[in-house]
Every structure is written in C-alpha cells, then in structure tokens.
C-alpha cells in the first residue's frame, strides 16, 4: 500500500515551508536581502569604505549618502552592506563549526551512553553554569584580535547547545529497533552512528543549525557593541549598532544604528520562521495537529 510510503525528509521540509506562507515569505525576503547584499558588497572595496573622511563627518541622510555618514565620515549605507555580509558569513561559519562539533559529541554521548555520556554531560552542564559571556570577553582581550581568534572563541563556548540537543534525540534513537537490528547484523558503531542515526535526526540538526546562525549573529552584535568584537577594520552589523553606545548619536542620529538593528531583526526573524517550519517537518507529531 502506498499510504505507508513516507516522503523523503527533504521533500517534507520543502512542503512544510511552502505550505507555511509566513515561512515561505521569510525565505524569499531572506535570500533577496542576502543576494542583494552580496552583489552590492562585491562592487565595494572594503578599505575604501573604511577610509575616514574627517571633513564630512556626521552628515544626515542625503542623496549622496543614503544613510548619512558616521563621526569619521564613512558612508553608513556601504558599511551596513559590508556589515550584513560579514556578520552573516561569520555567523554561518561559526554556526557550522559548532554544529559539526555538537553533532559529533552529541551523537557519541547519546549513542554510547555510559561513561562517555557521563563525562560529556558533566562538561556541558558545567559550561552552562559558568558565565560564558564573561569568559568570551576575557578571551577576546587575551588573544590577538583577529577574526580567526574571534571565531575560535565563539566556537569553543558555542558547541554545547547543539551537543545537548543532539544527545537528547540520539539517546532516543539509540534504543530504537533499527539501531538494535543494525547492531545484531554486525555493523560498526561509527557506521551506525553516521549512516543510520544521523540521517534520522538530520532535519532536527538543520533546524538547530539555522537557529544557531541567528543566535550567533545576536552574540556577535552584543560583543561588538560592548567593544569585544572582530577587529575594527572589519565592518559588521555589530559595529554599526555600536554607534548607539554614544547616547547623543543614539538619540539624534538614529540612521547610524537603527537600520543595522532592523536588518538584524529582520534576518533573525526570517531565519527563525524558516527554522520553525523545518522543525515542523522534523517532528511528525507537530505536523499533524
């Protein structure tokens, strides 16, 4: 009977996104913004945009400078374009690496259980108890301020969430019959983990990855705002938002920071709407009701 045939996870995912008008629109908005930003940014020269023109500082929006200029005379709009691109790339890379670490650690802990699980969980628990943000901040001033170090620090403290969720689902999968069946057939653990368990929790993993891109963008912004972001030669959304740290600029020149804040807001909401739809695809129980 073909009623028992289940569609592939990818098909389900597409269907869920397509069916959910909001998620579908979010996806379109997200990619439109992103593609636009990438094309525009390709036409810009970072060092040119970052060059200071002290004579034209603090200009209001005009035909020449769509979003005005900052206190050192840089074109805010161009900074925003570059910032959006850079922030997204940073978030994507950090989120991907933390996800891979999280998947490997979480799968191992959930699948093997016992001592492995115990040690991993103790570590993850400990890392959720300690003030991670403070450690991140301290690390950023101890290590040379390069973008690689910045990404590294975020990764070191960022993998626990993913590992915890993956462990939880793979713990459930570990006892399921198909894993037992595969074990009795003599498959090696590594093979079972990555060839059998991972595909089954794939959509769940993708949801987590999407959401963690959004979270990472938020963390980057916060850190840059506090003054502990990527090197100041690299424009990011956080750098634009950090203009608001100056109360005068915040109040009188909202064009410096408000657009960046809104870009973050829109991107993060779009990512979450899409993530939610994928999540529904991953969880058959929620799909039904």
């Amino acid at each position: 009977m073909d009623v028992n045939k289940t569609p592939s996870p990818f098909r389900v995912m597409c269907r869920e996104i397509y069916k959910d008008k909001l998620a579908f629109c979010s996806l379109i908005v997200f990619f439109t913004v992103l593609i636009g930003v990438f094309i525009w940014a390709a036409l810009l020269d970072t060092s040119e945009v970052m060059r200071q023109h002290l004579l034209r500082g603090n200009l209001p929006p005009s035909r020449e400078f769509w979003l005005g200029t900052d206190s050192t005379g840089r074109d805010t709009f161009n900074l925003l374009i570059l910032g959006t691109r850079n922030s997204f790339i940073i978030a994507l890379i950090v989120a991907s690496i933390t996800s891979v670490i999280g998947i490997v650690v979480g799968l191992a802990a959930g699948y093997y259980g016992g001592h492995v699980d115990n040690v991993v969980m103790r570590l993850i628990d400990f890392m959720t108890m300690i003030p991670t943000l403070m450690f991140i901040i301290t690390m950023t001033v101890l290590l040379p301020n390069t973008i690689r170090n910045f990404g590294l620090i975020l990764t070191v403290f960022g993998w626990t969430g993913m590992a915890r969720s993956i462990r939880m689902v793979s713990l459930r999968q570990g006892v399921m019959d198909y894993v037992k069946a595969s074990k009795t057939l003599g498959s090696r653990n590594i093979v079972i983990m990555f060839r059998e368990v991972l595909p089954n929790i794939l959509s769940f993993t993708i949801v987590n990855l999407t959401l963690s891109i959004a979270t990472t963008m938020g963390i980057e912004t916060g850190l840059t705002f506090l003054g502990f972001g990527p090197p100041p030669t690299m424009p990011t959304l956080g750098l634009a938002v950090a203009n608001a740290a100056n109360p005068l600029a915040m109040q009188l020149r909202p064009w410096l920071w408000l657009p960046a804040a809104l870009v973050i807001l829109v991107m993060v909401l779009c990512i979450n709407y899409v993530g939610q739809a994928i999540g529904r695809a991953a969880d058959a129980r929620r799909r039904r009701v």
Binding site: T128, I130, P131, T221, G227, A244, A261, N272, Q276
Partner: protein, 320 residues
C-alpha cells in the same frame, strides 16, 4: 533523600575546583599581577623585584594557586589597579545595584511567564494561546541587544516614559522618598527588557508541560473520579507542570546574570556587569577575575540549589 542531596553538594567541590583552575590559568596569561595594582613611578624595578619575591610571585605555580585560593577564602581578592582600592570594595559598591536589577527582572519574568504559560497551556489553540506563542517566538528570536536598544530609543528618548541613564537621579538626596522612587523608575525599563525576553523559555516549558500533563493517564484517572476542572488543573496539572521550572531555575539565573553585562552597558547602569566591561577595557584584571569567579560561583551554586529543590519536590528522582 538526604544521601542524594549530600551527593549533589559534593559535586560542587570538583566544579568549584575546575572553575578556580580555569580562572587561575587565565589570570596567568594576563598581563600584570597583584603588584600591578601598586604601580607607582617612585618605586624602582629592583624594589618591585624584591617585593615580588616577598609576595611569593616567583614561586612554583601550584604554590601560587594554593596561596591564591587561601587568600580568596579569607576574603582577599587583591587590589584594583584602576581604582587603587581593594577589589572587594569596588565590587561591593556595585553589588547592590545588580542584585536589585536581577531581583526585579526575576520578579517580572515570573510574573509574566506563569500566567502566560498557564493560559496558553489551558486554552490551547484559542486566540490567547496563538498570541502568546507568537510573543514567545519573537522573544526567543530577537537578540537582547537589539531589543534593548529599540526600547531605549522608543521609551527612553522618544516617548520619555522612563529614565535611561544610571541607577538613580543624582540630584536627589540619598534616603529620601523621592530617591527610592527614582531608583525604582530607573530599574523598570532595564528589568522589563530582560524579563520580556527571558520569559519566553519559561512560557514554552510551562505550556508544553501543561499540555503533556493534560494528555497523561493520571489526569484521565483524576477526571474519571469526577474531579471538577478547577481541581484537575490546580491540584494535579499545575503541580506537575511546574517541576521543570524549578529544575530550570539555576539556568535561568545564569542567563539573567550574563544578560546584565549588555543591559547595564546600554543603560549606563552602575552594576557588576558594567564594572566587568570597564575593568576588561581598562585591563583591570584583578577586578575582572573576581567578578568571573563570583558569577561562576553563583551559577554553580544556583544550579545545585535547583537540583536540590528538584530532589525534594519530585519523589520520582529520589528512588534512583
């Protein structure tokens, strides 16, 4: 039960040990040491070297670790290089502000979260529930920094509903009625900002717990006894559904505290989070390290306390 609580308390020891080791190692890589706090151009480098010897700074690492822990246990956290005063005094000034802020934020969080979670869980798929789900969705998605900035801009600058600088109006005399009112006014916006985002997780947990419990067998048993809806919810469902909240309390606390760094910075609020950012920026590491240690201890102990509450509250855990 007592055995389990004791075991849980004992786990604290390796955790605190690990925390102190991490901070000690980090401090080792930081420029400056206990003497940097005394920098004074009139003292020659030779004298400093002698003082280093006297203070034992040239002794092996493990001895210094031991000394460091001992002095901390005696309440000596070193001197702040930036403020030229003992770190304890510097932090002591800011502590009450952060405690007040966190306390008010926590109260707001639960005041918002519990009714919302209960309404959403009980009147599932009704309009109220839909609205609450959308709210939690936003609250989880939006980064604290963006939300805080928008709030400051909208309610602080544009509408002028709340003061947005500092912890109290500096023109008012300490201790007067107006002084306390001003202090409260300064707390509302930052605390509400944190609470509005912080509630989302709790609302979601509460909602799904209520739904899970509603569909569980024991609730059917209770309904089959002929229990009125009020008793089904108040006596049975809410009690079981609130357990995970207790378990998550420690985590919520850590979350709240790490939020204070960003919030205090945006509101120029003279608390510990702001102090931490300032001391890192000013390379005042003795203060920064003490703050990390404090936050770390609060996190570790807070989690332990919620685990112990859980052991007391949920009889099922006790059998294991």
């Amino acid at each position: 039960m007592w055995k389990m609580i004791l075991r849980r308390v004992l786990i604290l020891i390796p955790q605190l040990f690990a925390l102190s080791i991490i901070i000690f190692v980090m401090a080792h890589f930081m420029p400056g040491d206990a003497l940097t706090g005394l920098i004074d151009p009139t003292i020659s480098p030779e004298d400093i070297e002698i003082m280093r010897e006297q203070l034992g700074l040239n002794r092996p690492l493990y001895v210094r670790y031991f000394d460091w822990v001992t002095s901390m246990l005696q309440g000596d956290f070193g001197r702040s290089f930036h403020h030229q005063r003992p770190v304890v005094d510097v932090i002591g000034e800011r502590l009450p502000n952060t405690v007040r802020l966190s306390l008010v934020a926590t109260i707001f969080t639960y005041l918002i979260a519990i009714p919302m979670g209960v309404i959403a869980g009980r009147y599932r798929e009704k309009i109220a529930d839909r609205a609450i789900i959308n709210y939690t969705f936003f609250a989880i998605a939006i980064p604290l920094i963006v939300f805080a900035l928008l709030n400051v801009y909208l309610f602080g600058f544009t509408l002028r509903w709340f003061p947005i600088q500092g912890s109290v109006d500096p023109r008012l005399a300490t201790g007067t009625f107006a002084y306390h009112i001003s202090r409260l006014q300064h707390l509302i916006l930052p605390a509400l900002t944190m609470a509005l985002l912080g509630t989302a997780g709790i609302v979601n947990i509460l909602r799904s717990e209520i739904i899970d419990n509603e569909n569980s067998d024991y609730v059917t048993t209770v309904r089959a006894k002929g229990a009125p809806r009020r008793i089904v919810y108040n006596r049975h469902i809410f009690r079981n559904a609130s357990l995970p909240l207790v378990a998550g309390f420690g985590f919520a606390l850590v979350n709240l505290l790490s939020g204070t760094a960003v919030i205090e910075r945006i509101f120029s609020f003279p608390g510990m989070g702001n102090l931490f950012v300032q001391s890192i920026n000013g390379r005042d590491f003795s203060t920064a390290n003490t703050l990390i240690m404090m936050y770390g201890i609060i996190g570790v102990v807070g989690t332990m306390l919620s685990d112990i509450f859980m052991i007391v509250a949920d009889p099922r855990i006790r059998v294991k």
